[in-house]
Amino acid sequence: MSLSEAQAESVGAAPPAAGPVHPPTGLWRDAWGRLRHNRSAVVGAAIIGLFVLIAVFAPLLAPEPPSSATFLERLGGRCCPGPSAAHWFGIDELGRDELSRILYGARTSLLIAVVSVSVGLTFGLLLGALAGYLRGIADTVVMRFVDILLAFPSFLFAIGLVALLGPGLVQIMVAIGVVNIPVFARLLRGSMLAVRESDYVLAARSVGVPPHRILLVHMLPNALSPVIVAATLAMATAIIEAAGLGFLGLGNPDPSVPEWGTMLANTPRFLQSAPHLAILPGVAIVLSVLGFNLVGDGLREAIDPKLRT
């Protein structure tokens, strides 16, 4: 009698003793738990939360409508009064309340970030999933297309797209979104390829799980985590790119919709007399970008190690 057989018989089919019964905890819930204990991610989330609140309640928070230029006469030819009790952030070169414009500007920036990343995600995920799942010719075609898009420096590409589409908020969002498409597509394809070869996909195929479930239930959720991290970080980039476009004069031409980049663009002439007009929108940009970056980095740490097991 062999060794293994002897053990098989002595142990028999007795089930092992019942272990402790765990409360059902999901993978995402675990990741959430780790994220909560990551101090910088919490700070980042707080910053984002603050900006979201500002964006939502801008009409209540802002002392003046963002396009009200009624203080022009009060400028008295001097540009531009700095912070005062009446106008905490001072007055801009057209006599508008700077605080109100920055508060309203949060709306524009967050809107651009969310919409453009959504546009990029939608098409990027579609292309990446197709390429990573189908392989073959579809993969080659999609990835060469992505390579072409990636060949352009992203900001230059966005400038070109805005020039092509014309100025406007929607055009900016589309341009920044399109720039993100190849990034997400390539990322998802890569992780799809890795997941495709995983044992659990083979195991699922070996028991006859249909292909649409293999793709949507087995592959996509496991391949998605790096894309989620990238999407959070892309929000930060989108805010910077929108501000950059605004700074270059390719921003939203509607002066009643304040945008931080455009506000910055108008300041160089007054940099000596009114530095606050440059500093304050700049601080707003930096803070919001910092928030998304902190959360993105925290997410990366929270999600990645678990999925590698």
């Binding site: 293994s4 057989e5 142990v11 092992p16 070869e197 659990y200 070996s206 028991v207 006859g208 999925l307």
Partner: protein
């Protein structure tokens, strides 16, 4: 007993960047209904590839079957398209893989993964599938199955996960279960539990089991028939008892000599087989075992030996050897 699975002259090749690998070179296998058959051999001899080829799961586009038949109850599985194969997988032939730590989807609960199999084949109703999943977990020996259905794989130990994998594989009562090194990644005590589980499942149903392993002890324990593979070919096949008592192929003898035995004479050293298995990138010329073979006959072994009955061997014992071992080697005999 009627024949369930017949593999005839199966050839599998892999196209790699360094050329074509001849992973399986003409394998014959026969399983009767309810029978447990072992397929043993060293790593890389083509055991797992054979199993994947039977289920049509070879990694495309590199791996492909280049010849032979896989007949399941007389129906050739090789020409089937993906849709038809999907009906076969899980409901007629299912598979248990080597590493339970990576074979379960980490973002799905155990219950989701079990019901998925059931709903794909036999029980489209969600509630019924869940109830059946619970029965299955109980059947494979997982305590408090009802509450564990909503657990995720990382909350299970390796042995428990392998039980879940077995439950998934037998969920739709397949006629054939292929277990590819089901115990290799597990602790020795857990190995014994999983083997006992497999043996019980086979005994309680008319499911046949093709057990792929490199562990001769496992084969001796539960397989009726044993096939010894070497370099993508069958070296020797026969009833397990005959094969272990009177191995006729020099490779089988070498394998048996290289395992330690409890209670054996202490001074008998283990005898390793010299050399390494041949590279499979070249099409085999002559006996693949010849370079390592102590009984090599240069005038004969330039040809490829086919498994043939050996004079004096038991009925059904075939050895692919021109110069088979004449009598039981003392070290290979069992007390």
């Amino acid at each position: 007993m009627t024949t369930l699975l017949e593999v005839r002259d199966l050839h599998v090749q892999f196209r790699t960047q360094r050329g074509v690998t001849h992973a399986v070179n003409g394998i014959d296998l026969t399983l009767r209904r309810g029978e447990t058959v072992g397929l043993v051999g060293e790593s890389g001899c083509g055991k797992s590839v054979t199993a994947l080829a039977i289920l049509g799961l070879l990694p495309a586009p590199a791996g492909r079957v280049t010849g032979g038949y896989v007949l399941l109850e007389g129906r050739d599985l090789l020409p089937l398209d993906e849709t038809d194969l999907r009906q076969v997988r899980g409901s007629e032939v299912a598979m248990v893989f080597q590493d339970p730590m990576t074979s379960l989807n980490p973002v799905m609960t155990i219950g989701q993964q079990l019901t998925e199999v059931l709903r794909a084949h036999v029980l489209p109703n969600r509630r019924q599938a869940r109830r059946r999943a619970m029965e299955l977990l109980t059947m494979v020996g997982i305590p408090s199955a009802a509450s564990r259905l909503d657990d995720y794989p990382h909350q299970f130990s390796g042995g428990m996960r392998q039980r879940v994998m077995v439950a998934m594989a037998v969920a739709c009562e397949p006629k054939l279960l292929i277990a590819d090194e089901p115990t290799t990644a597990l602790d020795v005590t857990i190995q014994a539990q999983i083997l006992a589980l497999l043996r019980r499942l086979v005994a309680d149903s008319d499911m046949a089991l093709l057990l792929i392993t490199h562990d001769l002890g496992v084969v001796a324990g539960i397989c009726k028939q044993t096939n010894v593979m070497y370099a993508g070919r069958i070296a020797e096949t026969g009833a397990t008892g005959d094969l272990f008592a009177k191995p006729r192929h020099p490779y089988t003898v070498g394998l048996l000599r290289s395992i330690p035995r409890l209670g054996g004479a202490r001074k008998t050293a283990l005898v390793p087989i010299p050399g390494a298995p041949p590279s499979l990138t070249a099409r085999p010329v002559g006996c693949p075992f010849a370079p390592r073979c102590p009984r090599r006959v240069d005038e004969l072994c330039w040809r490829l030996p086919e498994p043939e009955p050996v004079p004096g061997a038991a009925l059904g014992q075939l050895a692919a050897c021109f110069n088979p071992v004449p009598q039981p080697e003392p070290t290979a005999s069992r007390p």
